[in-house]
């Protein structure tokens, strides 16, 4: 399959190409928005056309019994393992967002009529491991995640690929955060140059008094974009943090829209970006405060350190506000390592290369240390070290 062939197709032709019902609202919406291109607002910093122009082998969905394991393991989009007593199953997605900004959200849904449903019962921590084993493949799957009211759940995600090349992964979550609950989602992802590219398109719906903590730790090279839309009801709270450490010729980052719909809702979003090599980092994030969202608090910040003069940070924090009764701020800085800090360390006998590493890690640590789970914090630090030190060799 060549995803670009969907461009400018009629409903009938596109339906035939994808093997889906031509009356599908998702298909209609996809064709109305159009496939992403370099002219699309959300994809203008990311060379998406390069990915869509490739020809991929599509994978057949083969029903697979889910074995018992400590973690949820998803191999090439198929769940192979899940913890005992955790409800993980396939079902049709019945609550698609029909106003999502990302066409790939709809393409993902069209290609995955059966989604993986994960119901988090009670207070729980769960790890999700994504494995990719096929080269030149279009791996597509979607997950619907929900938790219970008044409960606290945490989901740790990691990604693994073994000797694959030129694969495109389209995946994403539809997340429903129940009233008075807390859901933490921590993602760590180290990518390599030629293994797989990823477009991850998510949608989050936060009910009244719901709390969501989203932390993404993206390191290494490759091409990857995460796009999410989050809607906040009354007294809902979202804390989003994104760490990027990129090297070689990576193009990665976050495109997001956080929409305050309910009164007294709060959002804070922080991006820390460290760019080496010929990389491009992306932080294109909008916080929209609607008329109904009085007494909102919304804060957004992006900081970038460029370690190489060929690196480029596309940082675009934006606020779109329709009310006066709120507290809001946003900011963006891009610079190099602070020469005063570097000199201070060197003046105590620490070699320049070591001092630079200390400052880079310190910059990253301010986000990494927000991860309360010590073991997961160590995993993220190790992954960061692997990407940072690996790049030096």
């Amino acid at each position: 399959m060549k995803p670009i062939e969907l461009a400018n197709k009629s409903l009938t032709d596109a339906a035939t190409l994808l093997g889906v019902d031509s009356t599908s609202p998702a298909l209609e919406r996809l064709l109305a928005i159009g496939l992403p291109s370099k002219k699309s607002e959300e994809y203008r910093y990311f060379q998406v056309e390069k990915l869509l122009e490739e020809t991929y082998n599509t994978l057949e969905y083969v029903p697979h019994s889910i074995e018992e394991g400590e973690k949820i393991v998803i191999v090439d989009g198929i769940v192979t393992h899940a913890p005992k007593n955790m409800r993980v199953y396939y079902d049709q997605c019945q609550a698609m967002d029909m106003t999502h900004f990302d066409p790939m959200y709809y393409l993902g849904h069209l290609l995955s009529p059966h989604v993986i449903k994960i119901d988090l019962d009670g207070d729980t921590d769960v790890e999700v491991e994504h494995h990719y084993t096929k080269s030149n493949a279009l791996i597509n799957y979607r997950i619907v995640l929900s938790n219970q009211a008044n409960r606290h759940a945490t989901l740790f995600e990691s990604f693994h690929a073994d000797n694959i090349r030129d694969t495109l992964v389209l995946y994403g979550y539809d997340v429903f955060v129940s009233p008075d609950s807390t859901l933490r989602m921590l993602k760590n992802q180290k990518m390599d140059e030629n293994g797989y590219a990823m477009i991850a398109s998510h949608r989050l719906k936060l009910n009244q008094h719901a709390n969501a903590v989203l932390k993404s730790f993206d390191v290494g090279s490759g091409m990857g974009l995460q796009l999410f839309k989050a809607e906040l009801d009354t007294y809902a709270y979202i804390d989003a943090g994104h760490l990027l450490y990129l090297n070689k010729e990576a193009q990665r980052g976050t495109v997001s829209k956080i929409i305050h719909r309910g009164e007294h809702s709060t959002s804070q979003q922080e991006a820390k970006n460290i760019l080496d090599g010929h990389t491009r980092g992306i932080f294109d994030a909008l916080i929209k405060v609607e008329h109904s969202a009085k007494y909102t608090k919304a804060h957004q910040n992006s900081k970038a350190i460029l370690l190489n003069e060929e690196a480029y940070m596309a940082s675009k924090p934006q606020l779109e506000i329709y009310i006066d009764e709120l507290e809001a701020s946003h900011g963006s800085t891009t610079g190099q390592l602070d020469p005063k800090q570097l000199f201070y360390l060197r003046s105590r006998g620490i070699r320049e290369t070591e001092a630079r590493k200390m400052l880079v890690i310190a910059f990253a640590n301010t986000l990494i240390e927000q991860v309360k789970d010590h073991r997961q914090q160590e995993v993220i630090k190790a992954l960061f070290d692997e990407a940072y030190y690996g790049n030096e060799q």
Binding site: R348, G349, I350, R351, E354, A355, A362, F363, A364, N365
Partner: protein, 250 residues
């Protein structure tokens, strides 16, 4: 042999010449105080010795234990035993204070061919100084200088000095921002380092610090040159008559 010899040093910051043929020699075991009006070049002198990136030396030489250091990187100068206590120590969020100090101590030990300290040995060594300097234990587990008060930053500088055991100690406005108790603690730390071999260069605006750290020599720095050198009796004259009264020695 002099510990540090500064010979006819001319140095620029940007386009501006700040040091204009400065001569100074530090003797082993002696405390040299540099005093001078604002803009005389006191801080530039300290930056020049430690190899700060702001400073370009255009003429002259600086020798440490007989060897020119002008081509040495800042870390090499530090490893050889030159220490500057900064006037305004920078804050470095995310770098743990203890981790940083252990890195610095072990870098120096390695340079000297000694075994590196493990975490327990390092903590034991550090603890004795923390108490003496009246530093709260949590300061060492916080980020380097982040959120520290002016006094805490200066105490932290002295802690580093005590741990690193340098041979030439440059104290740039060590007394600024210190209350009496902090000044006493900091001075006690500095005086502890006097061993008859180390040289001290105390850069100050005011004579207050010299009540606690007794100088052997007072050097008056004006317009980028040392214009007078005398014993500690010069302090009283400066206090009474100011820098205007000092004429350049022939």
């Amino acid at each position: 042999m002099k510990t540090l010899e500064i010979e006819n040093v001319h140095a620029n910051i940007g386009e501006k010449e700040i040091l204009r043929g400065l001569n100074l020699a530090l003797e082993p075991g002696k405390v040299h105080a540099i005093m001078g009006p604002n803009g005389a070049g006191k801080s530039t002198l300290s930056k020049t010795i430690v190899g700060h990136y702001d400073v370009e030396v255009t003429e002259g030489d600086i020798r440490y234990k007989g060897k020119s250091i002008l081509d040495m990187e800042p870390e090499e100068r530090a490893l050889e035993g030159i220490f500057l206590s900064f006037q305004h120590p920078v804050e470095i969020p995310g770098v743990n204070n203890a981790y940083f100090l252990r890195m610095a101590v072990n870098a120096k030990r390695k340079h000297e061919g000694k075994e590196e300290l493990n975490a327990a040995e390092f903590l034991r060594e550090m603890k004795k100084y923390l108490e003496m300097l009246g530093m709260k234990a949590d300061m060492i587990s916080r980020s380097l200088n982040e959120g520290f008060s002016g006094g805490e930053k200066k105490r932290n500088e002295i802690l580093q000095m005590l741990m690193l055991q340098p041979d030439v100690i440059i104290l740039d406005e060590i007394d600024s921002g210190l209350d009496i108790d902090a000044l006493r603690a900091v001075s006690e730390g500095i005086n502890m380092m006097k061993d008859g071999k180390r040289s001290f260069l105390v850069i100050t605006h005011y004579s207050r610090i010299l009540d606690y750290i007794k100088p052997d020599y007072i050097h008056v720095l004006k317009e980028g040159r040392i214009i007078k050198t005398a014993g500690s009796e010069l302090v009283a004259q400066l206090e009474e008559e100011g820098y205007e009264s000092i004429e350049e020695e022939a």
